[in-house]
Symmetry: C2
Amino acid sequence: MAVSTGSGDKRFIRTAIRLAREHMRAGDGGPFGAVVVRDGRVLGKGWNQVTSANDPTAHAEIVAIRAAAARVRSFHLHGCTLYCSCEPCPMCLAAAYWARVERIVFAGTGRDASQAGFDDDEVYRELALPIQQRRLRHRQLLRREVLPVFDEWNAKADKVLY
Amino acid sequence: MAVSTGSGDKRFIRTAIRLAREHMRAGDGGPFGAVVVRDGRVLGKGWNQVTSANDPTAHAEIVAIRAAAARVRSFHLHGCTLYCSCEPCPMCLAAAYWARVERIVFAGTGRDASQAGFDDDEVYRELALPIQQRRLRHRQLLRREVLPVFDEWNAKADKVLY
């Protein structure tokens, strides 16, 4: 597998921007597009579909990552670059880590997203706060009841790591 | 809509733990379960399906949020509590913010997850770092080409906010 070198970056970021523009105009959701690329081949495309699909997780990057993983039949996207019309929100950035993508290339900034009415910056700030200080209330209970589940996982001989 | 009060927390966190255990044993993925509840009713259930579905975003909480949003045909889950067998990773926590859930109740901690081999803590640390310091490489380019898309969004009369 060739390591992504950055050649083609302009081409693919323009694909992401085009998806953002076209699907915003179509009323599919917010103005965001993304593509997952490996070795110069587009493995998955995505655009924001939150409001049209009634799916709060259907950000462009999540959709593109899911599409690419389905296409290559793997839960890891080693060697892939995620092209995004805008800097990923924390949900999408964390998804990129879980998917093991190699690089992220983006055009607009989180500040651009905020100025367009999206809360990316605030969600980044919230995630960095201790649980007690977040505006989303958290409660922990019954930890002792879940620990045996983790013990069983740790001992499980046929587990698939990810 | 009644505001969630915390009554029933033990019952629903046990549902999340049961889902974690059963679907781990079934080989569906990691040992994690989640349920979205409003007014005492389960709107969506989820369990980790990363490895069985080849979907790196298929964490229990994401699956439960998507299921609940589909069920109520809304991209917002106001008044809902997200019960998780373990403290959410950054992807899932950010998804909870985007979905506007009201509370999160969890059993195991992020440290428990890390000790079971999951990178939650590391992803939290990475997200808090400036882009230049993250291990996942980032590149920004062609910002000027996406700004008109945001301008068009800002001026769009029929946009659906989320």
